[in-house]
Amino acid sequence: KMATLAVRQSPVGGFSFENCKRNAVLEGEANKVGYSLPAARKTGTTICGVVFKDGVILGADTRATEGMIVADKNCSKIHYISPNIYCCGAGTAADTEMTTQIISSNLELHALSTGRVPRVATANRMLKQMLFRYQGYIGAALVLGGVDCNGPHLYSIYPHGSTDKLPYVTMGSGSLAAMAVFEDRYKPDMEEEDAKRLVRDAIAAGIFNDLGSGSNIDLCVITKGKLDYIRPHDEANKKGVRTGDYKYKRGTTSVLTKSVTALNLEVVEETVLTMDTS
């Protein structure tokens, strides 16, 4: 009997509320002892993608926020799906991370089963069907891009499960700023350097005009033969070096007298606890 690739579990219909019950129990227990559960970390974000002459370019900022506080100044928002397909994620950080990992794993099994290089449309279908099944409760808004046997493709995928196939897309809280740049300067069949500059400028617009986006600009250039994961492409917000120093030189305040009193301490007891390093 031939071995079957049966590791993938076929999806059961409907939304499973098991974890919601568990979360409610945990929250109740935590509230009893006076703690509150941590809020989900959102990636605020500006992400975008563009199709150019030889492939696609994905771009993302690197700020992760927890409410109004920056939780991570340099998080990676461009996730691996397959060697020829990458996915930017906006929304709830955990949701984008886990969703892309699940689909990446399933896609690898699928590619082994078909014996072919995975297609972007396949990844799109898997992602949208999963997100639709969870009716928007998985807060993952994705920009999926890659190159396969049918050329370069770019999709935007929304938390409720709708997708759009377009030559340029933006997502996240900074999407309006980035889209303004694209609508002004996008042209079909751009050269790689022009396209990289366009994506960089679109993300920069999000970083500087949106509070939820910031820090550096990551790029991912996917073409038929080559993959360039450029992290960071542009350190747009490098921490500056202070020009002044608040330390006062010795002698600024004159010393009148100086006296030293030794503290004579007696060792009363000494115990040594060995650490078990086996």
Binding site: K42, Q135, S156, P159, H160, G161, T163, D164, L166, S175
Partner: protein, 216 residues
């Protein structure tokens, strides 16, 4: 002024806003739609083709929630594919409409999408079916989406039976243009699909080529 969360876009569902229309003529149908997809106040896709193929000569027009409408269309596309292999011939438009209606009715509390199904088959020629809320009714023409309420008067007054294909296409384009003008959730370009026994023809009418009326 600081926005409290800045993540309204996450929870706002993506809707197709929309104006959709399908008209029957002797020998086929003409479907039309605008191209605007909105999430709250933001347009997320200004060129979406809401006329989705269910089979070679059967199309459906999407409106309402983008995710729900896209999913219904893709599921029915798959089911029709299987069905047409099973019966070993092209499926009837009524079959496609019934499949859409079955999903719309069974999940009517959970879904918020309205699909108009239209096409041509050998048995009954051109047909237009409305599937709103899970009913199934054949009509000479059907309009749907948020923009449709602005043009009910126009379509009721201007529609005549026995129009030719070209007259139907003009009627569809005029209706879309008026609705796009008045409805904030409709806009972009107009997609027109004409289906008859000879084949399917897809056309795009760009924004500035749409017909203008007295106030433009």
């Amino acid at each position: 002024m600081l926005q409290e969360t800045g993540t309204e876009w996450l929870s706002q569902e993506v809707k197709t806003g929309t104006t959709i229309i399908a008209v029957e003529f002797d020998g086929g149908v003409v479907l039309g739609s605008d191209s605007r997809v909105s999430a709250g106040a933001s347009v997320v896709n200004r060129v979406m083709n809401k006329l989705s193929p269910l089979h070679d000569k059967i199309y459906c027009a999407l409106s309402g929630s983008a995710a729900d409408a896209q999913t219904i269309a893709e599921v029915v596309h798959y089911q029709l594919d299987v069905h047409s292999i099973e019966i070993d011939e092209d499926p009837q438009v009524r079959s496609a409409a019934t499949l859409v209606r079955n999903i719309s009715y069974k999940y009517k509390e959970e879904l918020s999408a309205h699909l108009i199904v239209a096409g041509w088959d050998r048995r009954d020629g051109g047909q237009v079916f409305a599937t709103l809320s899970g009913l199934l009714t054949r009509q000479p023409f059907a309009v749907g989406g948020s923009g449709s309420s602005h043009v009910y008067g126009f379509v009721d007054a201007e529609f005549r039976g026995g129009m030719s294909k070209e007259e139907c296409q003009q009627f569809v384009v005029n209706t879309l243009s008026l609705a796009i003008n008045r409805d904030g959730s409709s806009g972009g370009v107009a997609y027109i699909v004409s289906i008859d026994e000879h084949g399917t023809e897809e056309k795009v009418v760009l924004g500035n080529d749409l017909p203008t009326f007295f106030d433009q």
